[in-house]
């Protein structure tokens, strides 16, 4: 795996899951080993009792009816739910972009940086690729060498290009680069690996695990891909059709090092049987 | 009766005269029906005459002569000898041109105003004072300059006669007037610089209307000269505000009524034209080197 230590401190291994990988509040999880880094990782308590939209034509849209889950410090949570059920809405609420709901969002470390990979790339069209990433960096790290990161993401020869000159897949990679570059305490991802070929997607998943496990990062990822969730997550939260309610939680205590192809197939089948329709 | 459309300033002196004329039916008596068409600015009346929406306006012979030199066919009939004057506050130490040195002088009408040119020439000739260099000159719109004179920001102001009259009523005094300057440069008497102006062709076609109107104007002036009561009736148009101001306005208006023969007027105008031509050249007077011979309406000479 490419070294991009300037941006992300070297980690022991890519997918071996040295980070904590179970939720203390979960029924099935075991207490995770505390991470060795000084700052305690963020932990997240989400309770959205109700979220309504009033559409422009006046109709009232109940988007989320009852959704509550927690993410342990340093854990990786996947959100799976049908198209249009309210996943993006939930992420926006967690990000603090929407405060018009009933319920609460609590973070153990509210000061910690958040990064988001939105469902669209959301790049500044009038700034080149590198500037787009650099602007997200905290002031003290503005001068960091981003070369290795761009290298890993296959963006090395297009750092001077404008987003309009990228393909959608490339733009999504830039958005991912921006999110991991800031070394966030909380990382929210809305379908980060769509519009990518399998090879690239696999490389980016590895990168993501690398970054996530290198420092205490709590990650929440929306996906439609159960395989992806099984490969990456400690916990999968299933949502119902709109209005989104908690459909169920599935914990994956198996360390990532032990998740081989066979295990993955078995687990996907098992989850698929428990939650019909997700595969 | 033939209709004559006259373009006037709403609160201008011409309107006073026309108002009195119509109120007493003097126009009808002379076989014309005067239609007063009000405008908001001097330039507007000129544009209206050229655009054909009025038959007659009031402006100066310089304008007429220049138009004629450039192909126009307007003619002039004296209306008033009143011109502007330099006004200073009543308690001002300024007594002569020389005292204006280093002072702030407001000038209405811009650098090519003929009064201003004559007064400058006079100051240079008689007092060796070059006003445009020795004094601080501020050009501006008359209402603005009047306010500035009142507030004391200007030490003196050269301004049109109706503003000057108002200032006089407020305690200002006259340092020098355009009439004096004109006399100093050879005019044999008060020269009517402004007059009724209309198209020669129109006058030919409507000879009765034109001469009838001029006659009506004369008669009205006599009325305004004789009757003080008439002025009380005019107050809404004069807008003097108080009796003292009205009295000054009335007196200055009466002073301005031309009394001389047209031929003499024309002679003096030609003289002044030469002076002005010498002072400002083509810029002011246009291509004509001398006062255009047809400037004064021929109907005046035959008729009276």
């Amino acid at each position: 795996m490419t070294d991009f230590s300037a941006t992300v401190p070297p980690s022991s291994a890519a997918t071996t899951g040295t980070g904590p990988n179970a939720d203390p509040l979960s029924e099935r999880g075991s207490a995770p080993p505390m991470p060795s880094s000084p700052a305690p990782p963020a932990s997240l308590d989400v309770h959205i009792a109700e979220k309504r939209f009033v559409s422009a034509d006046g109709t009232d849209v109940l988007a989320i009816a009852d959704l509550a889950f927690t993410a342990a410090a340093g854990s990786f949570t996947a959100l799976i739910g049908p198209s249009g059920c309210g996943k993006t809405t939930a992420l926006r609420i967690i990000l603090g972009l929407d405060s018009d709901f009933s319920g609460h969002i609590r973070r153990a470390d509210p000061e910690g940086r958040i990064a988001a990979v939105f469902q669209e790339p959301r790049l500044l069209p009038w700034r080149d690729v590198e500037t787009n990433v650099r602007l997200a960096l905290p002031p003290e790290r503005r001068a960091d060498d981003l070369g290795p990161l761009f290298e890993t993401l296959g963006l090395a020869d297009m750092t001077r290009r404008f987003p309009g000159e990228l393909s959608l897949g490339l733009a999504r990679r830039v958005a991912l680069a921006r999110a991991v570059a800031i070394r966030p305490a909380l990382l929210l991802l809305d379908e980060p690996f769509v519009s990518l070929d399998e090879e690239t997607a696999a490389r980016l998943r590895a990168l993501l695990l690398d970054v996530w496990s290198a420092r205490p990062t709590t990650a929440v990822m929306v996906t439609h891909n159960l395989r992806e969730a099984v490969e990456l997550a400690d916990r999968i939260v299933f949502l119902t059709e709109r209005p989104a309610r908690l459909r169920g939680v599935y914990d994956l205590p198996t360390p990532r090092a032990e998740r081989d192809a066979f295990w993955q197939e078995r687990t996907v089948a098992e989850v698929g049987a428990l939650y019909p329709g997700v595969i | 009766a033939e209709t004559v459309r006259v373009g006037v300033l709403k609160f201008g002196t011409v309107n006073w005269e026309l108002d009195a004329m119509k109120r007493h039916g003097i126009d009808a008596k002379h076989g014309v029906d005067v239609e007063i068409i009000p405008f908001a600015g001097e330039d507007a009346t000129g544009i209206a005459l050229q655009g054909g929406s009025v038959d007659m306006i009031v402006t100066d012979w310089l304008w007429v002569s220049r138009q004629r030199a450039e192909g126009g066919s307007y003619v002039f009939a004296p209306y008033s000898t009143s011109v502007g004057a330099i006004m200073v506050p009543g308690d001002s130490p300024i007594q002569s041109f020389a005292d204006l040195s280093g002072k702030t002088l407001g000038v209405a009408g811009g650098p090519l105003d003929k009064n201003w040119l004559l007064i400058q020439a006079l100051a240079l000739r008689d007092a060796q004072t070059d006003l445009s260099n020795d004094a601080r000159i501020i050009y501006g719109a008359p209402p603005l300059l009047a306010e500035k004179a009142r507030s004391g920001e200007l030490d003196a102001v050269l301004i049109f006669w109706n503003y000057a009259a108002r200032l006089e009523a407020e305690g200002f005094r006259r340092l020098v007037s355009g009439e004096e300057a004109a006399k100093a440069f050879g005019a044999s008497g008060p020269v009517a610089t402004i007059g009724y102006v209309f198209d020669e062709a129109w006058a030919k076609e409507h000879a009765d209307a034109a001469s009838g109107f001029i006659a009506a104007s004369k008669e009205t002036k006599q009325l305004l000269k004789a009757s003080d009561a008439e002025w009380d009736a005019l107050e809404p148009l004069v807008n003097a505000g108080d009796a003292a101001t009205l009295a000054v306005m009335r007196d200055r208006y009466r002073e301005g009524i031309p009394a001389r023969d047209v031929v003499e007027e024309e002679k003096d105008a030609a003289k002044l034209y030469q002076v002005l031509e010498g002072l400002a050249g083509e810029k002011l007077v246009g291509p004509g080197k001398t006062l255009d011979p047809g400037t004064y309406w021929s109907g005046l000479k035959n008729g009276s």
């Binding site: 308590d45 309770h47 422009a56 509550a68 609420i93 603090g96 405060s99 018009d100 709901f101 009933s102 609460h104 969002i105 609590r106 973070r107 153990a108 509210p110 | 300033l9 709403k10 609160f11 068409i37 009000p38 405008f39 908001a40 600015g41 330039d43 507007a44 544009i47 209206a48 050229q50 655009g51 054909g52 929406s53 008359p142 209402p143 009047a146 306010e147 807008n239």
Partner: protein
């Protein structure tokens, strides 16, 4: 669920103040400000609201003010329609064609910078001092401003949507109505607002220069008398009409046009 320390995001309180109340408060504040300033100045040149109201009534009772106001409004409305229609069409055409823009840009700059006075003077002399000339003169003064505003909007049009419309073979009309105009809306709004005011200002000059009616005629007349109270009375009467136009026509239209943006 146990209450823990942390970042607690709560439902935002709903806005309680109605738009009408805010507008009223705004105008009262303005009035108060003016009254205080006038009280301090104690000058004929900064009359109090009461003095202006008196001037207003004096000319309103005689029917003079309504008449001149109506004349000016008529001219403003007519020139506005002419200027917006022609200006938008030219602006759109120049914004969409790079070559046409390059060619006509110097012309636009010329007409943009022709002094109002010159245009008014020439038109009054050529056409005569009548309503046609007046409305044309006002429109000619305003058109270049509409052109440059709409042109910017046309240059910033979304290419992706244009491609979509091309692929789906939208008719010319549909393209204009459903693709282009909604994107030009903010530019049209800007051109409308600053346009109405510009047109009114030019109308004042036009009326000063060759017409015998209208607010400009009255203002210039009162100006020669230094009667600031009367000038303000006429000005504020026009401003009041513009406020009504804004509140009753422009804002509702705008709200409809931007409904899709959602509130926030």
């Amino acid at each position: 669920m146990p209450r823990r320390a942390g970042c607690d995001v709560q439902r935002a309180p709903s806005r309680r103040i109605s738009p009408a109340a805010v507008t009223t408060a705004s105008m009262l504040a303005l009035l108060a400000l003016w009254w205080v300033a006038a009280g301090l100045a104690q000058s004929r040149l900064l009359p109090t609201p009461a003095a202006v109201a008196a001037a207003f009534w004096r000319d309103a009772r005689t029917g003079e003010l309504p008449f001149h106001l109506a004349m000016t409004l008529m001219r403003v409305a007519a020139s506005f329609v002419v200027a917006m229609t022609i200006g938008s069409a030219i602006g759109l055409a120049l914004g969409l064609s790079r070559t046409a823009n390059r060619f006509f840009n110097p012309w636009v700059i010329l007409f943009l910078n022709l002094p109002a006075l010159v245009v008014i003077f020439l038109l009054f002399i050529w056409i005569g001092t009548n309503e046609t000339a007046a409305i044309l003169a006002i429109a000619i003064n305003k058109i270049p401003n509409v052109v440059v505003t709409i042109r910017e909007g046309a240059q910033a049009l979304d290419r992706q949507l244009a491609e979509m419309a091309k692929v789906y073979r939208f008719s010319r009309r549909d393209r204009l109505v459903h693709v282009i105009l909604p994107q030009l809306q903010p530019y049209v709004a800007a051109a409308t607002r600053s346009g109405l005011s510009l047109i009114w200002k030019i109308a004042l000059v036009v009326e000063l220069f060759g017409l015998s009616s209208g607010v400009g005629f009255q203002i210039a007349t009162y100006f020669s008398l230094s009667n600031v109270a009367a000038i303000l009375a006429y000005t504020l009467a026009f401003v009041a009409v513009m406020l009504l136009v804004e509140l009753l026509i422009v804002q509702p239209l705008e709200a409809r046009a931007t409904r899709w943006r959602g509130k926030s």
